[in-house]
Each structure stands twice: as C-alpha cells, then as structure tokens.
C-alpha cells in the first residue's frame, strides 16, 4: 500500500487536487453564506459573502451548443415548469431532481419531451425524457450528477411546438468530479 502511494502518480493527482481545491472553495463559500445569514457583526465582511452569491456560474461552450441545438432558433417561454432541486447539494454525485409541468396530457395538448442540461458538467446533456398522453401527468423524478456549482437548465417541448425553460442554480459542496 505504502509503495503504491509513494509512486509518482501521473495526471490523476492533478485532477483530484483541482477537484479538491474547487470543492474546498465552494465549501468555504457555503460557510460564508451561512454566516452571512446572521447579518452584520459576525465578523465576516458581508460584501465578501454577497460577491460569491452574485457571481454567475460560468456556462461551458459545450452547454451553450447543446442549448442552442435544442431550441433550434425558437424563443422559449418561462414559468411553466416546476423544477425541484436542492439549493445546496452536499454530494454532487447524487442530486435529486423533480420536474413537473402543468399540462392536461391529452393527445391534443401534452408535453412531448423534457431535457435536462447541466451548464457546468463535462457533458451538458444529462437526460431526455419522452412522454406520451398516457402519462396523465407530466412529472418525472431522477437523480443527477453535478461536477461543481452551476445552473441546471430544463427545456420542455410541448405538443404545440412551444419550448419552455426553467433554470435553477445549485451550489455543490462536494463535486461529482469528472462526471
């Protein structure tokens, strides 16, 4: 065991360290956010806590491509999808997600497909669910991986051709590294 440990491990060490640093940074951010909830006087400059809150998470070019490809030029509507995700995920390897869309699910008017995109994962397209009127209610649940804190974007395709989206930011304490 010790011998193995002493061997100069190549690239994986670098990746693991990067992962670790990122996780540590996000945990620090979470702790700062937690304390900021107690208001001023705790000793953490509130500007610092706020700046990490306000900072948008960088979206990968891969995600932007996948998103544009899904929409195919259409302008999506918003506010029709109920997206349930934890605000803070302790374990990025197992993040529960629930997606519901208010639809009568009749042959005339139903949800055809629901796509989950992760803006900060190495592979942006997480899953596509294809529904039929027989589902009765457009509501699905699954569990996903998040490599780091990021926006999760859900795109739903309705039978009318309308595309509708919902976005939620999830802070990840321990990243599902290399997902």
């Amino acid at each position: 065991m010790l011998k193995n440990f002493a061997k100069p491990g190549p690239k994986i060490d670098v990746i693991d360290r990067r992962c670790f640093v990122r996780s540590a940074a996000s945990i620090a951010g979470l702790i700062a956010g937690f304390f900021s909830g107690y208001g001023p006087g705790v000793g953490i400059p509130s500007a610092l806590a706020q700046s990490s809150d306000a900072m948008p998470f960088e979206r990968t070019p891969h995600f932007k491509d996948a998103y544009a490809q899904l929409l195919a030029g259409a302008t999506p509507t918003e506010g029709k999808i109920i997206l349930e995700l934890p605000e803070v995920a302790e374990n990025g390897n197992l993040v529960p997600i629930t997606i519901a869309i208010d639809s009568p699910m009749t042959p005339v008017e139903h949800v055809k497909a629901i796509h989950i995109l992760a803006s900060g994962n190495p592979v942006a397209r997480v899953a596509t669910f294809q529904l039929t009127p027989l589902n009765g209610i457009a509501r699905i649940q699954s569990r996903m991986r998040l490599a780091r804190s990021q926006d999760v974007v859900v795109v739903a395709q309705l039978s009318s051709g309308e595309m509708t989206v919902a976005t939620m930011t999830v802070k990840v304490a321990l990243g599902g590294c290399q997902t």
């Binding site: 994986i12 997480v126 899953a127 589902n135």
Partner: protein, 108 residues
C-alpha cells in the same frame, strides 16, 4: 453490467387515476471521464436508454447521459385505463439489454 431491476407500483390502482411508476436498477454509470490509479482512462459504460411499455405500447422513454447518477432512479406518471403488464427495458453502452415486467392490478 446492469443488475437487480426494481419496479414500484401501487398495490391496487383505480381506473382513471394517475399513478406513479418508480424504477431503479443497479449500474455503475461509468462516465468515461475518470482515470484509474495508473492514469489510464476508464471507458464509458452507462445505461443510455430506458423504455417503458404498457401492453406492448411504448408509454415512456428516457435517453440518459453520463450526468445521471450511478444506479439510475427514474420515476414517471401513468394514467390507469385498465389492467395490464408493464415491460421495462434498460440498454447499456455494450448493447446489453435487461428486461423486467410488472403487472398492474386494477379495480374498477
């Protein structure tokens, strides 16, 4: 290699109700982005497709990527029109298909 598929349906469903169908299967969902301890890449092996049929008609389908957690759990809803048998199939990157059936018990 997928194993141990589990399906959860209500014990008894009423015609006209909408029920929740829960599915779970054991699978590593290897992303293809990881490396082993010698630095060699570990090849991707995930369940890429899950389908649900009811009475030989496809009612639900999931195309999965590496962003789905190991041991994929998927639940969806189903309108009860009558008794019948669900047939679920999971297909992984090696092309291995695992099929499981579950009967839906219905009262009028």
């Amino acid at each position: 290699m997928a194993s141990n598929p589990r399906i959860k349906l209500p014990d008894i469903a009423k015609i006209g109700d909408v029920i929740e169908v829960k599915t779970l299967i054991t699978h590593v969902m290897e992303t293809g982005n990881r490396k082993d301890k010698d630095g060699n890449p570990i090849g991707r092996n995930i369940i890429n497709t899950m389908t649900a049929k009811f009475g030989h008609e496809e009612v639900f389908r999931a195309d999965l990527g590496p962003g789905i957690s190991a041991n994929p759990y998927i639940s969806f809803q189903m309108r009860v029109l009558g008794p019948g048998v669900f047939e679920f199939a999971w297909i992984d990157d090696d092309g291995v298909k695992l099929v499981e059936t579950a009967a839906l018990n219905v009262v009028a």
